[in-house]
C-alpha cells in the first residue's frame, strides 16, 4: 500500500508543461523563504541595544577637580573609563619611548587631546578585566600605568600595552571638551 502512495510529486506533475509547474513550486518556496526571513529579523534585532540603552551612550565629566597625579573612574556605557591627570614626569616617560618598538605602536600625543589629561576605557584588551592602578596604593605595573591582575598585562602611563598577553593598547574613547573643565565621553 505504502508504495502506491509513495512520493507523488514529480511523476504527478503536468507532463505537458513541467517548466510552469516547477516555476510555481520554486516561487512558492522563495516566497516562503522571504517571509520567514522577514519574520526572523525582528526576533534577532530585538537583541541589539534598545532605544533607552542607546540614549545613555554619552557621559559628561567635570575634570577640573582631579589633582595632578590623581585619577578618577567614571562609567560610560556600563564600562569604567579612567581619567588621569598626569604629572610632567609621567608625560615625559610616555614620550620617552620610541613607539615603533611597541606591540601596538601609537605615539602618546595621538592618544590625548591635552597632554596632562589621559582618558582611556578601563577595560583590559586581553579578556575584559578592569586593570589596577587607579587608586593610590594599587599595583600600577612595571611601567607605572596600570596592571591587569587577571592575566598580568602591564600598561604604561599612556595606557599602552608593554608586557603581558593583551594585544592592543587601552582604548581611547571618543570625547570632546565642552569647556575647559568638562568633557563629554561618547
Amino acid at each position: 500500500m505504502a508504495n502506491t502512495n509513495s512520493k507523488p510529486g514529480a511523476s504527478d506533475t503536468d507532463v505537458r508543461d513541467p517548466g510552469r509547474r516547477d516555476f510555481i513550486v520554486v516561487a512558492t518556496y522563495a516566497m516562503g523563504a522571504v517571509g520567514a526571513a522577514a519574520v526572523t529579523w525582528p526576533l534577532i534585532d530585538q537583541m541589539n541595544p534598545a532605544a533607552d540603552t542607546l540614549a545613555l551612550a554619552s557621559t559628561e565629566v567635570d575634570v577640573s577637580k582631579i589633582a595632578e597625579g590623581q585619577a578618577i573612574t567614571v562609567t560610560w556605557r556600563g564600562k569604567p573609563v579612567f581619567i588621569r591627570h598626569r604629572t610632567g614626569d609621567e608625560i615625559a616617560r610616555a614620550n620617552a619611548i620610541d613607539s615603533a618598538e611597541l606591540r601596538h605602536p601609537e605615539e602618546d600625543e595621538i592618544r590625548v587631546q591635552k597632554p596632562e589629561l589621559l582618558v582611556v576605557v578601563g577595560v583590559c584588551t586581553h579578556l575584559g578585566c578592569v586593570p589596577l592602578g587607579q587608586k593610590t596604593g594599587e599595583v600600577k605595573g612595571e611601567y607605572d600605568g596600570w596592571f591587569c591582575p587577571c592575566h598580568g598585562s602591564h600598561y604604561d602611563t599612556s595606557g599602552r600595552i608593554r608586557k603581558g598577553p593583551a594585544p592592543t593598547n587601552l582604548e581611547v574613547p571618543p570625547y570632546s571638551f565642552l569647556s575647559d573643565s568638562v568633557i563629554r565621553i561618547g
Binding site: M1, A2, T4, N5, S6, K7, P8, G9, W41, P42, L43, D45, Q46, M47, N48, A50, A51, D52, T53
Partner: protein, 408 residues
Amino acid sequence: MAAEKFSNPVVRWVDHRLPIFSMLDHEKYDYPVPKNLNYFWNFGVLAGMALVIMIVTGIVLAMNYTAHVDHAFSSVERIMRDVNHGWLIRYIHMNTASFFFIVVYIHIFRGLYYGSYKAPRELLWMLGVVIFLLMMATAFMGYVLPWGQMSFWGATVITNLFSAIPFVGESIVTFLWGGFSVDNPTLNRFFSLHYLMPFVIAGVVVLHIIALHRFGSNNPIGIDAKGPQDTISFHPYYTIKDMVGVAMFLLLLAVAVFFFPNAMGHPDNYIPANPMQTPAHIVPEWYFLPFYAILRAVPDKLGGVLLMFAAIFVLFVLPWLDRSPVRSARFRPMFRIFFWLLFIDCIALGYLGGKPAEGIYVLLSRIATGWYFLHFLVLLPMLSIFETTKPLPKSISEPVLATAKGVA
C-alpha cells in the same frame, strides 16, 4: 530497505545509523489519511503552529522582561517603546494567545461534532483535554506577568479559588502565593512556570500525535478507512491543504496584530497593579469567560469552584458518556440538534461571563450552566440509547463516487 529510498549519499549514510529521514518519510508519505477530510481538520496543525509562535516570541520576550513587582510593568512598557520591534513581538505573543484558544476551541468542537473522541481514540481525546488544561494554566500565568491591574486581580481571584477547599484551602493559597498576598514571590514563580509549561505542552502534543498516528485521523463521515482506496498520503495532499489554512490563519493574525492589537485584551491591564484597589468590573481573558460564568452561577463558594472544574473534567469521561457507535453527527439527526444547542450554550456562557454578576445575567448563567451539564450527563447517554441513526455509507469512497456520478 528504507536506506535505498534516498539518492543523496550523505542522507543515506546518516539514515543507516540514525533513521530520522526514514521516520520523516514514513510520516510524510506512508501515513495514510482519509481522503475526505474537510477544512476543520486543519486546526490541529494550526494549534501546533500557534504553540511554536508562542514559544519563539515568548523566549524573545523573556530576554527583555523583568519578573519583579517594581519593574515588571515598566519592563513591558520598555518592550513596547524602546526594544527593537518589541511592540511587534509582544503584540504577536498577545494575539497568538487568543488565536491559539480560538483554534483549539474549533478543534474541540470539530471533535465533538464528528465524534473523534470515540473508540479507539479515547486517549487521543483525553490527551487533548490535558493540553487544554495546561494551556489554560499557561495563559493565566502569562497574563499575570505584565503586572497590570487585571494581572494582579486576576491572579488574586484565581488563586483564591483554591481557598474554597475545606480545611486546607487557606494554607494552599498561602503556599501558592509564597506569602500573604499576591506579591513578588508569586510573580517570580509564575514567570518560571509560564516559561516551563509550553514545553510540557509540547511534550503532551507529541503523545497526542503518537496516539493520533496509531489509528489515523477520524473523518467527516466517521467510518474507518477500509483500504488504500479510501486514503491518500499526507504529503503533498494534506500538507498543501494545511498550508491554505496556515495562510488564512497568518492573514487573520496579521490583521489582529497590526490593526486591532488590543481588541481581545482589557484596557485596565495598562494600569499598573495596585494591591490597594480592585477595578470596578474585573473579567478574565475572553477564553476563560464560559468557565467564569459557571463559577459565578453557583451561589456557593466551593460549589462554584467544583462545578467550574467539573465543566472541564466532564470532557475526560465524554467517550464513556456518549455510547453511540456512530461517530459523525451527519448520521445522528438528534445529536446534531443538541450539538448546536450546546454550541449556542457555550457562546451564551461566554457572553454571560463577561457581564456583571447581577440581575437577569445570574439567572441566565444558571440556566446555561444547567444545560451544559444536562447535555453531557443526561442527553448524551440518553441519545446513545434512543436515537435512530441514519444508515452509514459502506466506505469513505462510496458517497464521494456517488456524488461524482450525480454531477456527471
